[in-house]
Structure formats: structure tokens, C-alpha cells
Symmetry: C2
Subunit: 365 residues, 2 copies
Amino acid sequence: MKCRVCREPAIIDIRRHNANFCADHFLRLCRDQVTKAIEAFSMITPDERCLVAVSGGKDSLAVWDILLDLGYQADGLYLGLGIGDYSDESGRYAREFAAQRGATLVEISLPDAYGFDIPNGSRAAKRKPCSACGLSKRHLFDQAALEGGYDVVATGHNLDDEAAVLFGNVLHWQTEYLGRQLPVLPARDGFPRKIKPLVRLGEREMAAYCVVKGIDYIVDECPMAKGNKHIGYKEALTAIEATSAGAKHSFYFGFLDRASARFQAEAEADQADLTPCTECGSPTSTEVCAFCRLVTRAGGRLPDGDHDTRLDAWFGDHVHPDPVVDGAFAGDPDDRDDPDPDPADHEPVLVDLAPTRRSPKDARP
Amino acid sequence: MKCRVCREPAIIDIRRHNANFCADHFLRLCRDQVTKAIEAFSMITPDERCLVAVSGGKDSLAVWDILLDLGYQADGLYLGLGIGDYSDESGRYAREFAAQRGATLVEISLPDAYGFDIPNGSRAAKRKPCSACGLSKRHLFDQAALEGGYDVVATGHNLDDEAAVLFGNVLHWQTEYLGRQLPVLPARDGFPRKIKPLVRLGEREMAAYCVVKGIDYIVDECPMAKGNKHIGYKEALTAIEATSAGAKHSFYFGFLDRASARFQAEAEADQADLTPCTECGSPTSTEVCAFCRLVTRAGGRLPDGDHDTRLDAWFGDHVHPDPVVDGAFAGDPDDRDDPDPDPADHEPVLVDLAPTRRSPKDARP
């Protein structure tokens, strides 16, 4: 098995590329694929400030690492979710990486700042843990980027993630989610742009990237995610990829090329009529936004109002001198009532059994 | 486990209905679901003549049985494909069923009439067996219905089939196939309407239907279908259905309700510019239609021209006194160059490796 580029011994084969790579050329491949994604979707420019959503897993550490290697201004934000040992350990990996790279890591603790953790909070709020967690992350990453004066929030979603989310959205034909499942969500009404620079790279490649680069990361899946439908969607697509190399890539990029635009009008209509949350000022289609409702139901402490002073404290001197907005926001599609693009809460469809009228034979004499 | 309707002991549970049924009420459920599909999609009226595409498997025998029970005028057409013992056995089941029900079964032998069988013909034509078979079936069922004066061709595609085909089309975002994946393809330019009355019933239900009704059918999958991607798509969806009862139903009917129309303009555009095949008169986008090209490459005998006298012979006195068309047809979407909605021929997608330009760091001094 030889490297496609230099013919030296290869360390990884990538079937959908029909190619093998040595360590050096594999790392270059990863950077090149990120560069390609960034350019194809106009994700970020070198003079913009980027906040990377860091979980301590392979994807978020790899995307942070690659953005830094490519010369982008990228700080990390780690959100402590209070999921026992899992959170302790994942936070440690995030801190270790930041220290090694000399990069800036901001930390927010959900229990300390908002008075609830995901396991107990989701139970109290009668919400699936992954749903409560996703909602909290989106809300707090947005808020933090805003307060910190960042132009862009980057997440570590890879091709496997995006293909699995797309599969879930297609299985349920969630047309408004389909309309905004893009590698870039543009900034609007003061909200930062959101980008997914790893969309051209698979899960297996990101694990290999971290191993080759000597980046330690939390290997275990989050214990709360057990039985999450998203994992089932990933497994289904992985089984198909095993016999059809490139299936995930053509599913996701085929969607972007040939189907996505057909759903966008709906996604935009869906974002109309948002007003500021009466608790925190975030845009919402109801009086109180989904995050503040979660906090209340979870028995936590609500944000301090339009300007969340706790976020000021976390960012300290990272706060941008000219904040992108100050106070009222409107229009972030991710902060709707049920903003989770992975509809994990679906109940079985109970199919109506009754015929609408009798058969022709019954109607005959 | 009690019947939902009469509380007598149940013989089957249907998880997506969250209900169990005794034998009688299960049969009624099947008939009711067919009635509901027929009405919802205006498939057929009692005064129309229907030709059922019969393979000898559970689905085609069940749909024929149910259509007869509901009082529709339904004859069967069995196509001998020359797949060794499999074809011999499946033909026997079709004949036995017809004899038991006193129904009319027309038979066409591909080897006898066109001089090739699927195993050797597809090899000679360098075409996947399922692709050659599907193409031959569609062509000959259409032609036969036309010559026999039938208004409608009914096939035994069930919910599992349709969901799996949809999954394949969505995985590849085959937009023109998505635009015409409907439970009814309307008649056009003299071609019969095509209907799928079993779209509200699953594979397991159709097997149970045949068992309860005492209908013997060929249980084995076609030996040529081994490794067919369609089977992989079915397995993937079945794994999802196992944890989310109703997933297949909501995938397929959600598509029909909320997505299908978004692809229809393309499907229609795709059907423009068809001209009669110079060999057989069937509509085609090339000079010679896909079936006649297959026959030639497979080393078989071409049809006799615009009016296929072999079809007259098969139908004998079933030929309609006022044939729907006589000669030139145009516009059947199923007779295109590669009309198989299950794109089994897809090669691995080789993803372009080169970046479009250099990273910002590279561009710096």
C-alpha cells in the first residue's frame, strides 16, 4: 500500500478517493479538503475572528487544529454540560490541546452559570438529553460569539455527521430543516455566521488525523447519546458506504447541488415573525425562547436579560471592542422552539386504518 | 395478543399501526388499505380493465387476489425470464393461483419470443441482470397492456419496495426519478396508466396475507438479485423501522405529501423530445429504444416493428376490440435509455483531491 502522492508506504486508505496516503500527505489532504470547503462555501477569511465549538472529541479538536494550521484566527469555546466523568474528561482534553497549541480556550459551565446540568435538567424538563444539549449549545455558542465579538462560529461536523442529519431530515421530510442544512449559515441580524469546515472529511479520517498529529481526544461517545436515532442513521449509511464507496459524499453534496435550493423558501418563511425573548432577548417565535423555557423547566437560573453579564465575565478581555450587536437580535434560525435538526423525539406514526369509502364490490348489488 | 377489532386471539401484530389483528380482520385491513390507496390516488375504477404484472411472488399474487376480491377486472401477465429453476418455479405458482381463482393468466416467454434470457442476455449486453430484467419487464408489460386493450397495469410494489427505491433515489439525488416516483403514473400518449395498489402495505404483511389466504408463492429471492443495492437499501430502512415503527410509511408518504412536487418539472422536461424507436415504435430519446438495444446486444431477436404480432398471438381473443393506440407511441417515462429507478450501476464517487487554491497561511509572507 503506497502513498498516492509520493509512493512511500501509506498509513491510510480512503476508499471514496480510491487512494492511499502516507502520514504527511494524509495531513495535507485533510488541510486541502478544509481549504476546499472554506473556499467553495465562502466560509471565512483570514481577517475574521472565529470561535470554535470545542467538545474535546476528535472532530472539534481537529477542526480547531486545521484552522490554526491554515492561519485562521481561531479561539475555542468549551461548554461544560455536567455529564459526570464524561464532561470532566472531555474538558481536560480541550484544555490540554489549547495549552499545547498555545491557543485561547474560553470555558462556560452550564451548571455554574445556569444552575442545571444536562442529565438532571433534561429529565426535569421532560426533554431528550440530546435535544436539551443541542439547544443549549446552539444558544450559548451564539451568545458567546456575539459577546466575544467573533464573526464566525465553527463546528466540527464532519461528512458522516452531516450525511446522518440529512438522512434523518429526509426520512421525516422535515422541509424547513432541509432548507437550512448547509455548510454555512450566513450571519443575520447580528448573529455570527456558522460554518462546518469538515464537511468534506469523514469520521474515520478525523480520528486518523488526531492520531497522526498526536492530539489526544475523548474517544467514548457521550453516555447520554445511547439510543439516539442519529447513531442509527449513521450506522445505516455506514453499511451502505461499505458496499458503495462515496455514497455519503454523493448523498450530501448531491443534496447541496441538486435539492437543497428547492427547500429554501420554506426555511426562510420559517424564520419570519421572530421577536426578542422576553427573558433574554434572543429571537423566538414564542414569548419566551426555547432555551429560557428549558432553563425554567430544568429548575435552573435564567439569563440576566438582554445583555448576559455572565458572558462578559467569561470572555473578559477577549470581548471585542466593537460588539457586533448590543441587545436585541432577531432571526437566528437555530433558536426556534425545537431547533434540533435531528428529530429524535418522533413518535411512531400510527397509520389511519379506516378506508375512506367502501370498495366497488361492496357498492354493487 | 387480541384483535383490535373483535378482541378474539390475534395472529399478527403491526407495530406501525400499534395494533394486532385476527385472520379475518387482518385480511379486511389489507383490502381496506388497498381501497384507501386506490381512492387516494385515483388508481382505477371498476369499469376499467387491469393487467397485473405477476411474478409468482407474494406481492404480485396478493395484489391480484385483492383486486379480484374488491371486484376489479384483473387479468395476470407472467413474463418468463429464463432464470433456470427460479423461473420454472415462479411460473408454476402464477399458473396455480390463476387456476384456483379461475382468473386469466397471459404468459410471455422472453427466450421463446425474443431469443434471449436474463442471465445470458445481461452478460452479453454487459448490463446488470436487475437492470436488464427491469427494462424488459417495463417494456413488455406496457406493450402487452396496449395490445390487450387494458387501461391499467398494476404491479405488486409494496411500501418496503417503494421506500427502498425512494431511498436509492434520494441517496443519489436522482431528481428526474424523484419527480416520477408516484403510486400512479398517468396514462399518456396511448400508454396504460401504471398503479401500485400495495403502497400502504409492508412486505411482512403481504407474506402474512398469502399465508392466511392459502396462496402458495415463490419464497426465494431471485438468484440474480444477490448483491443488488436495492436489497441493501431495504435492509438499512428495516433496521431503522425496527427502532422507529412507521419510519418507512412516513418516509414514503411524507415524500409524496411534501417533497415529490418539487421534482416534477424536471421529470416532465425529461420526457420531452421522445421519438418512436426505429425498430419497434416505442418512444425513446435515442434512435433505437433501450429494449431493442438490449435485445440486439443480448443476441436476441428484435420485435417485428410498430405492431408486434407476437403480442397479438399471446393475447388471442383478449385483444381489445378498440385498441388504445395502433402503432406509434410517444412519451412513456419508463422507456428511457436507463429507466431503472434503482440506480444499481453506480460507480464509487471519486472525490476530487486537489484544493482550488492555497490556504491563507500559504498566501502570507
